[in-house]
């Protein structure tokens, strides 16, 4: 397997160009699916590679619970720089598993607590909370998917803009955007090089919901105004805290996109455009990543099988 075992760890670099270009040049739905798919596959491959390296690393440690045969030089030769790589892989894999577990657990807990907070209210789809703090979000799962919105948010919007807001949140629920978001969250934990994809997907899901809302209410300008007004009243509230992003932030970009033309829905961009090149690059990176980790896993299985005294 040689150097192939390391490839899935660094190949996420190949997805950086598409993470950057997709949000402007692709339809948000295509971009979300493409980026999430790439992130999920690359994260899985990277974790498999880490696992294989960890086996080699653990087998070197005295007193390890693995079969003695696994610490054979023959096994170690399969991995270049086995001493360092193997030992680094142990804490790395533990960190990945802990981080992913924590992310999944938090995800479940926030949703559970949010549903619990709404327990005393009638089970309507839209839950309006009497709170001056303006916020609105889609809450999936529970007995039914819900849209949570405060009176503070509703009071700053005109009726058509409120419809746009509800359409936006419903679009999140209908398209199950929380699954895409959780997938890229976990991927970013599994391999930090996948973080740009997480940022990109959290933006493209919003754009996707914006476009669906624009279609539902029949006016892109109304959705743009609703987002703009909501953002202006939301500033300084604890709900809006997001780590500082490079200017201009996501909200002005969303408004600009809505004030511009409708994005074209293409199945796959031509290779002769920059975005096409980036998409093909990411696809190639994903395939190489998958092949490398599969190759490494199979090779390692054979080597370990041969090394295990039966």
């Amino acid at each position: 397997m040689g150097v192939f075992v390391f490839l899935p760890l660094v190949l996420p670099f190949t997805a950086w160009p598409i993470a950057r270009l997709a949000e402007q040049r692709l339809h948000p739905r295509t971009a979300t699916r493409l980026l999430t798919g790439v992130a999920a596959v690359m994260a899985a491959c990277s974790t498999v590679s880490l696992g294989l390296l960890m086996v080699v690393g653990t087998a070197q440690l005295p007193g390890n619970p693995l079969p003695d045969g696994w610490s054979d030089p023959e096994v170690r030769e399969a991995v270049p720089y086995d001493e360092v790589a193997g030992k680094l892989a142990i804490p790395a894999l533990i960190a990945v598993l802990l981080a992913c577990g924590r992310t999944g657990w938090r995800h479940g807990r926030v949703r559970l607590r949010a549903h619990r907070a709404l327990a005393g209210l009638p089970g309507t789809e839209v839950a309006v909370l009497p709170d001056e703090v303006p916020y609105a979000y889609a809450l999936p799962g529970g007995r039914r998917d819900r849209v949570v919105v405060t009176t503070g948010m509703l009071s700053c919007l005109e009726p058509p803009e409120r419809r746009a807001l509800f359409a936006h949140e419903r679009a999140h629920l209908v398209a199950r955007h929380h699954r895409f978001l959780l997938a890229v969250q976990l991927a970013a934990r599994a391999n930090p090089f996948l973080r740009p994809l997480r940022t990109a997907v959290s933006y493209t899901t919003e754009r996707w919901a914006d476009e669906d809302a624009a279609q539902a209410v029949g006016s892109r300008r109304t959705v743009a105004c609703a987002i703009g007004k909501a953002a202006l009243v939301s500033r300084g509230t604890p709900v809006g805290t997001l780590a500082g992003l490079a200017a201009p932030g996501p909200v002005p970009r969303r408004v600009t996109a809505l004030l511009g033309p409708v994005p074209v829905m293409r199945s796959w961009p031509s290779v002769f455009t920059s975005v096409g090149l980036a998409a093909w690059g990411a696809a190639a990176g994903t395939v190489v990543s998958a092949l490398s980790s599969a190759n490494s896993a199979v090779t390692m299985a054979f080597i370990l099988y041969a090394a295990t005294p039966l």
Binding site: R111, R116, Y137, P160, L181, Q185, R220, L242, G249
Partner: protein, 133 residues
Amino acid sequence: MTDQQRPRRGQGELEALVLSALREADGPKSAGWVQERLGGDLAYTTVITILTRLLAKGAVTRERAGRSFAWTPTSDQAGLAAHKMYKVLDGESDREAVLASFVTSLEPDDERLLRELLGQAKSTGRKQGEGED
């Protein structure tokens, strides 16, 4: 436990029950009254615990009446839900990972840019008249 056949009710649901019982009352009521009102399948201590929790959330107030307290509701179910939701959101630093909220925070530059964009949108909207809506 006598109510083992009963499906276990969640904390939130119990708080909602106690609060609605108090809201139906015509004045401050004791914990014993609440317990009776709810059909007596809750232990007295449970009722006290829930009332104390509601007090911490600002959903009820209490005043001393003899040796115990008399409880008065100050907010309705929706107000209680709003309070709890605020707690959930306030306690999660990376909630945007979980809940896709409608808008995210604005940097100072974003705000200026956004106001310009909205101004543009309004002026083009006026030019188009009712064309789009």
